[in-house]
């Protein structure tokens, strides 16, 4: 992060400004502040190892071991739960490939693949990344996983709590599918009433959920001229996200809170 000197007043006004931002503006703001987004866009120099349309891998300038790679999605996500499944799957495949590259090119004896979600977990940057670290025996990195003893009562309490959340996470997923189906039906019914140009677009193969949503809402609330619909689209899109992943959203909000503080700290 670029060091900036700010007076306390400036910091305060900045914090106020951040608080009043809409989620879209906030995302833009975070992107601008994010050194890794600047690396990805080429504004800041880096030692690039690999790049494709989804992700980019660079050498860490503060490596745990020589050859330490940071693999990050090009899109700005703070933490793993924000990443869409397909992108995450792609990242996992690339990190596997990078690990293989290390074994071959550096004759590493092993690799550690490390992810930190949240400052409490040691996350330093506001941009999600996967660390792939080449390992040699006796390199004494503090990456051994400590072990503790839990009583059987504690264990079963933890099990109950986590198991419940696992089910909830999966159940919510099922529900959201149902919601989507319902909306699709409603949308079909609505489409009949909808004017033709919309239909043509639909036929051109853009049956995006967001679009379905906004059409649906547009119809429900009375048809509006095109310009206004765009805002409706944004709003409904947000709604979709909330409906689909309430669990994730919650975490995002919490993490988002941490993020703001961190931005403020960095600015100080």
């Amino acid at each position: 992060m670029p060091e900036q000197q700010m007076t306390p007043e400036q910091v305060k006004s900045m914090q106020e400004k951040i608080k009043n931002m809409s989620p879209e503006e906030l995302k833009e703001f975070q992107k601008k502040q994010c050194i890794f987004c600047q690396i990805i866009s080429g504004k800041v120099a880096s030692k690039k190892i690999y790049e494709d349309e989804i992700c980019m891998a660079i050498l860490d300038i503060n490596p745990a071991n020589p050859g330490h790679i940071l693999l990050m999605p090009k899109e700005h996500y703070q933490i793993m739960p924000m990443i869409p499944d397909d992108e995450l799957a792609h990242l996992s495949m690339v990190s596997k490939a990078l690990s293989h590259v290390m074994l071959k090119a550096l004759k590493a004896q092993g690799t550690t693949i490390f992810v930190a979600n949240g400052i409490a977990a040691g996350q330093r940057a506001q941009h999600f990344m996967i660390h792939v670290i080449p390992r040699k025996e006796g390199d004494k990195l503090p990456l051994d996983i400590p072990q503790t003893e839990l009583s059987s009562q504690e264990m079963s309490a933890v099990k109950k709590a986590v198991e419940g959340r696992v089910k909830a996470v999966l159940k919510i997923k099922e529900e959201s599918v149902k919601v989507e189906e319902k909306e699709a039906e409603e949308e079909k019914a609505a489409e009949v009433k909808e004017e033709k140009p919309e239909k043509v677009e639909e036929a051109e193969g853009k049956p995006k959920k967001e679009k379905e949503k906004y059409e649906e809402k547009g119809v429900k609330e009375k048809p509006k001229p095109k310009k206004k619909k765009k805002t409706a689209k944004k709003k409904t899109a947000k709604k979709t996200a909330k409906k689909k992943k309430p669990v994730k959203k919650k975490e995002q909000e919490e993490e988002g809170g941490v993020g703001l503080d961190d931005i403020a700290k960095l600015l100080q």
């Binding site: 030692k47 190892i49 792609h90 930190a116 979600n117 977990a121 503090p142 264990m155 996470v169 919650k250």
Partner: protein
Amino acid sequence: MSETCVFCQAAKGKAKLEKIYEDKEIIAALHPRPASKGHIIVFSKTHYNIVEQIPDYVIGDIFKKINKLSVAAFEGVKSQGTNIIIQNGVAAGQEIPHICIHIIPRNENDGINFQWQPKQLTEEEMSNVELSLKQEAENIGGFQKEEKAKPIKLDEKKPEKILSDEENYLIKQLNRIP
């Protein structure tokens, strides 16, 4: 391998584990000696020693589930963050030769420290590493995103038939000669 491997035994239901999730591909269970409350280990039912052996489509699938499970662990124990760690190889601290992924819920001042000291490399060392990694990384790509359908061996039976027909024919011919 599967007879001596703890995780393979667990996949068959022969080892005691506090399972929290299971499907046809993976098992997630609480670590019996956790780094923190809610420490989950995730492993595939198929035996893979190291990450490099896992097919692309399987590791993609595993990560999608890891993501969900980490959210569940995060919320289940109300932690402030999570670490996801794969120890790939003995040098990385891998203890069981069956790859397993750790999800560790984290809290501030929880006594766990994974923060490494950055190593100081000279410009030359850095660019040497960069060069050799870059060269090797050129081969990355062509991910196998879906399981390939097993090739149907069409031409295996046919020649047999032809042969047997021929044989029959030849045998007939042979039988005719006398």
